[in-house]
Amino acid sequence: MSDSILVTSIDEAMKWGTGKSLWPFTFGLACCAIEMMSTMGSDYDWARFGSDVFRDSPRHSDLMIVSGTVTKKMAPRIRRLYDQMAFPKFVISMGACASAGGPYVRGYSVVDGVDQVVPVDVYLYGCPPRPEALIQALKLLQDRIVAGKVKH
């Protein structure tokens, strides 16, 4: 009897399930998006980690990977897309530009970090980060979802 019944609380099971079925949003902003495409491709195949197909609509997805430079013209659009996503929703800020403005931080047209626009769960450094780093960020996000340490 004891090896056929799993006892858990529904909350823990929900968190585990959310972390293991993240649906990212197809959202490339700059060169980091190339690394993101490589990560979702067959070489690195991040469907192995439970984060499956990239969705083309914010209403179908719960993970936004801000992959690239956030220009001032794009920032309000990012906020609008984020607001259109259904709860629970998570944000990975990928690369130096999205995290802190990167090499364009003193420029006239670039926001110094996407955290001024949307709440960020995982910051990922690199210019651009390698696919392994993005996979690590995903694992980190999954751990935080299970531990309940996410912004939304």
Binding site: K72, K73, A75, P76, Y108, S109
Partner: protein, 151 residues
């Protein structure tokens, strides 16, 4: 034959020609008839006392290249009547350098949001005055100097 102001060449042998801005359109029309059928790009340079507009031409038959330069203070004739592809190049030069192209079909900003103050690649552009962008209810961009009103 349209007169040129001066002639020189780059290190790798591409001919550079300076033309007065009144003769520019006639000169480029003549060059197009002579076989320079492709406009590779239009760029602009700010030399503080004047602006310069550069046209990189290519002959697809002889593979020959030509750079046509013209000095201007702000205005220059548009070449969209010769090459349709010049449209966006001229809009970019207007957006970032403030070069006004006369008789252009749609001379609006192409990269920065509409309502941006100044042209950022000008040497006298104030870099310390930050501008912030937000979306209005009608879906258009609103630019403001107040940090609280945008991103």
């Amino acid at each position: 034959m349209i007169p040129v102001e001066s002639e020189s060449s780059t290190k790798n042998g591409i001919k550079i020609v300076y033309v007065a801005k009144e003769n520019l359109l006639a000169f480029l029309t003549e060059k197009k008839e002579q076989g320079f059928d492709t406009l590779l790009m239009i760029t602009g340079v700010d030399y503080r006392d004047h602006l310069e507009v550069l046209y990189h031409l290519l002959s697809s038959k002889t593979n020959e290249r030509l750079i046509v330069k013209t000095k201007t203070n702000e205005e220059v004739e548009s070449v969209t009547s010769l090459w349709k592809g010049a449209n966006w190049h001229e809009r970019e030069a207007w957006d970032l350098l403030g070069i006004k192209f006369l008789n252009h079909p749609n001379l609006t900003r192409i990269l920065l949001p509409e309502g941006w103050v100044g042209h950022p690649l000008r040497k006298d552009y104030p870099m310390d005055k930050k501008q912030y962008v937000n979306l209005a209810d009608d879906g258009k961009d609103r630019v403001s100097f107040e940090k609280s009103e945008g991103y």
